[in-house]
């Protein structure tokens, strides 16, 4: 079963003379365990693609399948449940709730999903621990550094049984070393059953992905082929 599938997805905003085609028949398949990066200039449709994949907005035409389930066949409530349970979002500006501690921010989606507060909190602490933030669990967002806040946001996105991690410029305004740390975490999170899609204009961040898809004017312009082994870059006789 694919983690995410977009079939000929189009998105049109406005109508008549004000009509804007944000996506034009884009198809994409993301297997479990894979990390795919979407690159493209501003206005190429990359963020729209992500919000449609995460069922935050509807496609004008085409079909979106998350974990093999067609979003169009689901009720509003079912889709909301899918977003809470199976999809994790990471945004550029972190989107942490300022009045909640790091641990509360991370366990919130589980509690909203009906999990007992204690169980949710345990899962949240475990996710924070995995991201090296165990000692920051009781801090509020404004007591954390930018890099730490982003790690909390990633912990929130992967907590519980998430199968799909969707990230829009996840390293935001972080410096290059912190941005790399974020991508290492996203990379680590995407294995086994979990797949990820990262939208970025930064080639260095995109290069952490297994596959990079290039969008232009709402169409897929190209994508990188499967990766050869790293030995291909090293001089002959070097890669033993």
């Amino acid at each position: 079963m694919t983690a995410l599938e977009l079939r000929e997805v189009s998105k049109v905003y406005g109508d008549g003379a004000a009509e804007v085609h944000a996506l034009r028949g884009v198809s994409l398949t993301v297997e479990p365990g894979a990390l795919v990066a979407i690159m493209g200039p501003s206005g190429s449709g990359k963020s729209t693609m992500l919000t449609i994949a995460g069922s935050l907005e509807d496609a004008s035409s085409g079909e979106v399948l998350v974990g093999g389930q067609a979003l169009s066949s689901m009720s509003r409530n079912e889709r909301a449940r899918l977003r809470r349970r199976s999809i994790g979002f990471v945004f550029q500006n972190f989107n942490l709730l300022p009045g909640l501690t790091a641990a509360e921010n991370v366990s919130l989606p589980l509690e909203l999903d009906g999990l007992a507060a204690r169980t949710a909190r345990k899962a949240g602490l475990r996710a924070l621990e995995e991201l090296g933030l165990a000692d920051r669990a009781a801090r509020f967002p404004d007591e954390l550094s930018g890099g730490e806040r982003q790690r909390v946001a990633i912990a929130r996105a992967v907590v519980g049984e998430r199968r799909l991690l969707l990230a829009d410029e996840p390293s935001g305004a972080l410096d290059s070393v912190n941005a790399e740390a974020v991508m290492r975490l996203v990379r680590t999170a995407c294995r086994g059953e979990v797949a990820g899609v990262v939208v970025t204009h930064d080639a260095q961040l995109a290069s952490w992905a297994d596959r990079v898809v290039f969008l232009r004017d709402g169409r897929m312009a190209d994508q990188t082929p499967p990766l050869p082994g790293p030995e291909s870059l090293l001089a002959p006789g070097r890669a033993q």
């Binding site: 200039p41 204009h201 290069s207 952490w208 990079v212 190209d222 082929p225």
Partner: protein, 195 residues
């Protein structure tokens, strides 16, 4: 990469054998720049001729010969470390030339041309990133050498992106150039007033 100065740097730590120098050079540069033994010995001979290193042991001892940096070698190394490399004159970049030529040919799909190069560069970056991912956290030499390559490739991708956006904003100029081919610009001007 200046091999003579890299060897001087290694010798500034103490006397070393030729083979040892090769191994240490490769280890310190994250094994990104391979060096053959012949190149090491030719360079050492040249350094010796210029009085920057001295050898201990008989001339026919080959690999058993030990090399030592001289006072002049130390001075040369210090001066080299502080001298910025010559980045003032633009390099004759093949990709820039290809794009400038393509822009002047009629019927060329510029975005498609730029995309071919962009995909290839990102693919290379993915391979370097894999090496970085597998590198030990304390292998600073490898991490720095791979970062240097990633930043270099990234700058080319950014240039392609900006070329794409300039051509898109100014399609009339791009088409007019195609209709009446003008000579390629001469980048005679240099920055920094070095020459």
């Amino acid at each position: 990469m200046s091999v003579p100065h890299a060897l001087l740097a290694l010798l500034s730590e103490g006397p070393k054998y030729g083979l040892q120098l090769r191994e240490e050079f490769e280890a310190r540069t994250g094994e990104v720049w391979p060096l053959n033994v012949g190149q090491v010995y030719t360079t050492l001979q040249r350094l010796e001729r210029n009085g920057l290193v001295e050898s201990e042991g008989a001339a026919d001892e080959g690999p058993q010969k030990m090399f030592v940096i001289t006072a002049a070698g130390d001075e040369e190394l210090g001066a080299w470390l502080r001298t910025p490399p010559d980045l003032a004159s633009p390099p004759r970049d093949e990709l820039v030339i290809k794009v400038l030529v393509a822009m002047r040919l009629p019927g060329i799909d510029m975005p498609a041309v730029l995309q071919v190069h962009r995909t290839y560069l990102v693919q290379l970056m993915q391979q370097w990133t894999r090496i970085k991912e597998d590198a030990a956290e304390d292998d600073l030499a490898l991490l720095l050498a791979v970062d240097a390559e990633l930043f270099r490739l990234d700058s080319v991708v950014r240039w392609l992106d900006s070329a794409d956006s300039r051509i898109r904003r100014n399609p009339v100029a791009a088409a007019a150039k195609a209709a009446s081919p003008a000579p390629l610009p001469r980048l005679r001007r240099t920055v920094g007033g070095r020459r």
